[in-house]
Amino acid sequence: MHAQAAAEALPMTGLPDARAAAGQLIRQATGGDLEAFEELVRRLQRRVYGFAYQHLRDLDEAHDLTQEIFVKLFRNLARYDAERPFEPWFWKLAANTTINYRRKRVPTPTDQSADQQVSEAVSSVPAHDPTLVDALAQLDPAYRLPILLHYYADLPLEQVAQSLNLTVPAIKSRLHRARALLRNALAESEETGFQ
């Protein structure tokens, strides 16, 4: 049964007892138990919020997107097949919500350029690797999303591919391209720094 697989997905599962508890939590939440759902959100929130923040580079937007992801999770829990692992299913939902969230953001005349947003975000939140944060922010969302799912949310390639409805070779190729773009940006930034 897959409560265990689902439990392994959650980032608090070092011990067998903890895994069993997490599996139980997912089952209860799927059955409509609001307290279990709240606990599930509590355990996922850091990774989801971090993912949203790294993607959007804006605290308020990250907050909105995270809430939207969890509300969608609640509404779609009934569709979750407990025989399958929870994590890929959840991150697919999160990725779709993120893609649609960006699509429905209508730029207003007061919207700032991406560069301004990045510099504001960087100044409002201390980044421990600012050059990488900058380079990531400049990346096209089509490249940034798989990078974040794989390296930040720590999903294996197969799950990233499932989440984004792509094949594993396509995801691999996209990740290589994204890393090359980041590498070039980092090298450029270092060169500028040295001058």
Partner: protein
């Protein structure tokens, strides 16, 4: 295997770092390795390529705000109070409607209306099946039937509005966050 140009090396660095290049094309992987021994610029790029996944994994984000969970739970709270109140209003509405009908026509009047309506419908059904001529229905009955149909349509519309209210609302997250 011929020597690789820097531009070619830069394109192949990520598959090389992941080990995919050595599997797919061992000769090119060896040539790339040889190139790195002699080219300082490409070696620097290679170091970046190697360290990048680790830097990505080490990336830190701000902690989620305290209000996040409460906001989510508010958004998914079942049966908003306004909706319950709206459904509850149907009870006094029905009681008041029954009282008015009873007051205007009395119970006898109501049963007369019902039996009159029933016989009219029967007459129409017989006419429709060809078993009887078109019955003469009093104008008052036709008006009453029209009023009944209108009342049913309005009630159905009212119920559909209430049913929509009962569904989990699409939360206005921005409003909630800023509240």
């Amino acid at each position: 295997m011929s020597a690789l140009a820097c531009a070619r090396v830069r394109v192949l660095l990520e598959p090389y770092v992941d080990g995919d290049l050595a599997l797919a094309d061992p000769g090119t992987a060896q040539a790339l390795r040889d190139h790195l021994l002699t080219c300082v610029d490409c070696r620097r790029q290679h170091e970046q390529a190697v360290s990048l996944p680790f830097r990505m994994k080490a990336l830190r984000s701000p902690s989620p705000p305290e209000s996040l969970i409460s906001g989510v739970m508010r958004s998914i709270a079942p049966q908003p109070q306004a909706s319950r109140r709206a459904w509850g209003l149907l009870i006094p509405e029905a009681l008041l409607g029954a009282f008015i009908l009873w007051y205007l026509s009395g119970l006898d009047g109501l049963s007369a209306l019902a039996s009159g309506g029933w016989s009219d419908l029967q007459g129409l059904a017989f006419w429709g099946s060809g078993a009887a001529p078109l019955p003469s229905i009093p104008v008052a009955d036709v008006l009453l039937l029209g009023a009944f149909i209108a009342l049913a349509a309005i009630a159905a519309y009212h119920l559909s509005i209430l049913a929509k209210l009962d569904q989990i609302p699409v939360p206005d997250l921005r409003e909630r966050r800023r509240a």
